[in-house]
């Protein structure tokens, strides 16, 4: 992780009310009437770090972002930047760069005026505005597009203009609301890499909201997973994937079936159709050494499919076969109403074939109920 480069002075000369450094939310809560949209959420984003707020719709991720930006004021808790409390600083005094979900580009201004708007608000001279706006456009790969009307831009171009507009004010933090969700799949994959590269280059805390965990995996350094306004877990993508702290996290992150298990400490026993297997497990920090009810996550890449009938294997029937480029993913219906996805390099098995499934070495994530 790179630190914030020095010399990121604000060009407006306004006094520095909001400070610099990590952006932190400390126990923020936001209620709308009876409904608690965000419930006691805390996390910190360091300079140059990319944190993704992930959750289903209605999980409170956008409200959280809007509190970070200043469009919403928390009912309790604080927002700080570099240790300074900015909870009640209005958005126009925060100096954050925000990219809205539908970009919110001003339809009555050409591209250049859109990008230069934040500088205009800071009373930067016209010449300097122009120079900086053009440089910002160049940095997102849109040289020479300055005089084009907004309506003539494609979705991807609009997204880049919105990004340039947020970057040109040399923001103290970058906030992005679903930055990739309005792009078509091909463009989206390309933009993931571009976005990560650009955000890392800026070197300020960057917070972005997404409902798509693949976007989050591809772009973020760390992920904060929200559900119904509560923060479930914060960690690197690997941590969330390999050591989810709860069944809910395991269900949301990555594919895999969550099956009941008997907790034996460093291993756990999973019994399906009378066939019991001991699996190596990773335990989330802070859970009791022996859980009464425990579950194990069976990821598709941790299982093996075989067409021969092994004695110690779980028996099942293929209900669905899907080619996923390089591997074939089979859905296999096992006994006890459990079905699992299995990745296999061989595509020889077909729907309605009877197969056996055995676990690989693991370790498998163990989660409490």
């Amino acid at each position: 992780m790179t630190g914030a480069p020095d010399g990121l002075a604000r060009s407006d000369g306004k006094d520095d009310k909001t400070g610099r450094g990590p952006l932190a939310l400390n126990g923020v809560t936001r209620r709308f009437g009876e409904f608690t949209a965000v419930d006691n959420v805390s996390f910190e984003v360091g300079p140059g770090e990319l944190l993704a707020l992930v959750g289903a719709s209605g999980s409170g991720k956008t409200t959280t972002l809007r509190m970070a930006a200043g469009y919403e004021t928390p009912d309790s808790g604080t927002v700080t930047l570099g240790g300074k409390d900015i909870t009640r600083v209005p958005p126009e005094r925060r100096g954050f760069g925000m990219v809205f979900q539908h970009y919110a580009l001003f339809p009555h201004m050409p591209v250049e005026d859109n990008v230069a708007f934040g500088l205009e608000a800071r009373r930067v001279s016209k010449v300097e505005r122009l120079v900086k706006a053009r440089a910002a456009l160049a940095s997102v790969g849109l040289e020479g597009a300055g005089s084009r009307p907004i309506q003539s831009l494609s979705g991807g171009e609009q997204q880049r203009v919105a990004l340039a507009r947020a970057l040109v004010i040399e923001p103290r933090a970058l906030l992005l609301d679903e930055p990739l969700s309005n792009l078509d799949p091909t463009l989206r994959h390309a933009m993931r890499d571009d976005l990560r590269a650009m955000l890392r280059r800026v070197g300020v805390p960057a917070l972005f909201v997404t409902h798509d965990q693949e976007d989050a995996f591809a772009v973020a350094d760390r992920i904060a997973l929200l559900k119904k306004g509560k923060l479930l877990q914060v960690g690197t993508p690997e941590e969330l994937y390999n050591s989810p702290i709860s069944r809910e996290v395991a269900a949301f992150i990555g594919r895999g079936s969550i099956v009941p298990a008997i907790d034996k400490g460093s291993t756990a026993t999973v019994t399906i159709g009378g066939v019991a297997r001991d699996l190596n497990v990773t335990r989330p920090k802070g859970v009791a050494p022996h859980l009464e009810t425990a579950f194990v996550v069976l990821r598709p890449d941790a299982l093996e499919l075989s067409r021969s009938a092994g004695v110690l294997a779980w028996r099942g029937r293929i209900t669905n076969r899907r080619f996923a480029g390089g591997v074939v993913v089979y859905r296999v219906q096992l006994a006890d109403g459990i079905s699992v996805d299995v990745e296999s390099l061989s595509g020889e098995a077909h729907e309605d074939d009877n197969v056996s499934i055995s676990p690989l070495k693991g370790p498998f994530p163990l989660v409490p109920a």
Binding site: D12, F106, G118
Partner: protein
């Protein structure tokens, strides 16, 4: 197949186009031709007449001043009601459009009762200050603009409110996130995006003020404006000069239209309709009290004309002279309206003429709207122009055109004698309301999926069945709304009526004016109340009709 569809389009279009060319275009051409019947003589006469030059100038000044006055009231009011929450907001919102419910002449006489020399407010101020004479006179440009601002700000208010409602709140948030303060956001983002709404409503006010007749006629005093000059010339028998004045008035309107289109030329965007933002509650106690007091004052100012007309309608004719309020009250005025046949006649006249005109509007505009929206054929552009044309021509000019065309029987030149008969007024009302009904029908039909018609035909429905079961139901909301507006404007119509009426087909508006001249204020006011009541009745009828069908 395609050629036959085109032939069918033309077959339906030709009668409608012929009718519009005959009743809308021909009279105006006749007026222009009439202005040249003496070569340039009438034009020279116009140019040499100080009265006419003054009238043209005054008309333009009044129109521009009315635009600015309406903007000054309508825009802040739309912002206040659209963006803020405060005690009394709902009441203010409910009465904000009330002035639009007053027929033009009724608004004028309400102002006369309130702010005229012997009006209620004038007298109260006069007594309070112990003055010997009225503190002001309701005369001249100021008075006319005052009345115009009261009745026409509603256009600005409605347009800007709708614009604010469609306004994408994230644009405002984006601007504030980029560091723009409230003033910068207003100047650079909100107002530029509202410009289409502001310009559109300003144009509407301009056109209405330019063609306005009742306020200059009643408050003008010695003041000359084009619309009243036209009537004066016609009454004096100087038809040539009246034609020139009419042509100048119509040209001013068209010039205004072109100018506004040009000012608004750069707009290439539309506002996304993603729902408005929530209104901000005013927190400061001081500002809260201030807005509440201000809105209370506005509410009273808006309701007062209506209340005053109702009050005066119960006043005994001739009894109200120097008192602040009428001294004697009676039901006599209303009793006489319903029992004396001479007084009852204008009511049946207005209602029947409005219904005839509206029925014609519905038939013609449905066909025109269908052709414009759902049929791609060569004459579409011309048809669109024809139905929009009456909107650009002030009512006085339309009326004079009819007077110039339908004044004798001469089938060779397409003239039929209608002037002096009952039918000339329904025709005038019909022409005035074509753009209104047509645009309502068009907007309804535009919401219909164009493939529905094809789908119905594909399922084997005949053309008639498709029209009856698919197109007509799709046009119905527009027909009901447009028909209601047409009937409401026609029943209170004054401007074209004053040029064309005769004693036997005199509408309510002319009778109000006659009673006013006879200083029978009570009778004039009771007609006005009846007119408001008729408007209300029609609105309720249209609403229940729509609900029953929906």
């Amino acid at each position: 197949m395609k050629a036959s569809a085109r032939r069918q389009s033309w077959l339906i279009a030709l009668p409608v186009m012929a009718l519009l060319l005959w009743t809308v275009v021909y009279p105006n051409v006749a007026v222009i031709a009439g202005s040249f019947e003496d070569g340039l003589g009438h034009w020279r006469e116009f140019a040499a007449s100080p009265a006419d030059r003054e009238a043209l100038w005054t008309s333009l000044v009044i129109s521009v001043a009315s635009v600015f006055a309406s903007l000054a009231i309508g825009v802040p009011l739309a912002f206040l009601l659209g963006r803020f929450e405060f005690p009394g907001r709902r009441l203010l919102r409910a009465v904000a459009t009330l002035p639009a419910a007053l027929p033009p002449l009724v608004g004028v006489i309400a102002f006369l009762f309130l702010y005229g020399e012997s009006g209620l407010v004038t007298r109260v101020v006069q007594r309070a200050l112990g003055m010997a004479e009225a503190p002001w006179r309701l005369k001249g440009v100021g008075a006319i603009v005052f009345v115009h601002a009261y009745t026409m700000y509603v256009y600005v208010f409605l347009f800007v409110s709708a614009g604010l409602e469609r306004f994408d709140a994230t644009l405002d948030e984006a601007a504030s996130g980029l560091g723009a303060n409230t003033w910068q956001r207003l100047r650079r983002v909100t107002l530029p995006l509202l410009m289409p709404a502001v310009a559109g409503s300003a144009l509407l006010v301009f056109m209405n003020a330019l063609g306005s007749f009742s306020a200059p006629y009643v408050f003008g005093g010695g003041l000359r404006v084009l619309s009243t000059q036209i009537l004066a010339s016609k009454t004096n028998g100087a038809m040539g000069l009246a034609y020139v004045e009419t042509t100048v008035l119509a040209l001013s309107a068209v010039a205004g239209l072109v100018l506004f289109r040009w000012l608004d030329r750069k707009r290439r965007y539309t506002l996304a309709s993603k729902g408005g933002r929530s209104r901000r509650t005013i927190r400061s106690r001081r500002i809260q009290i201030l807005t509440t007091v201000a809105s209370a004052v506005i509410v009273v100012a808006l309701v007062l004309p209506h209340l005053m007309v109702i009050l005066v309608s119960f006043a005994r004719d001739g009894a109200w002279t120097t008192q602040v309020l009428p001294p004697e009250y009676t039901f006599e005025n209303y009793r006489r309206l319903f029992t004396e046949s001479e007084l009852w006649k204008p009511i049946t006249n207005s209602v029947s003429m409005a219904l005839i005109a509206t029925a014609a509007n519905l038939v013609v505009c449905f066909i025109a709207g269908y052709l414009i929206v759902l049929r791609k054929f060569g004459g579409r552009g011309l048809l669109e122009l024809l139905v929009a044309l009456p909107w650009a021509i002030p009512a006085t000019a339309i009326a004079l055109g009819l007077a110039a065309t339908f004044n004798r029987n001469d089938l060779l030149t397409g003239r039929v004698l209608l002037v002096g008969t009952f039918w000339i007024l329904p025709l005038a009302y019909f022409i005035r309301d074509i753009p209104l009904v047509a645009s309502a029908v068009e907007s309804s039909l535009r919401q219909m999926d164009a493939s529905l018609e094809d789908a119905a035909r594909g399922l084997g429905a005949s053309w008639m069945m498709t029209m009856r079961r698919v197109v007509l139901p799709a046009a119905r909301p527009g027909l009901v709304a447009g028909g209601l507006l047409a009937a409401v404007t026609a029943v209170g119509e004054f401007v074209a009526s004053v040029v064309l009426y005769t004693h036997s087909n005199r509408p309510i508006s002319m009778e109000i004016l006659a009673q006013l001249r006879a200083l029978a204020f009570g009778t004039a006011a009771s007609y006005s109340v009846l007119l408001i009541f008729l408007v209300l009745l029609m609105t309720l009828a249209a609403r229940s009709f729509e609900e029953r069908l929906a």
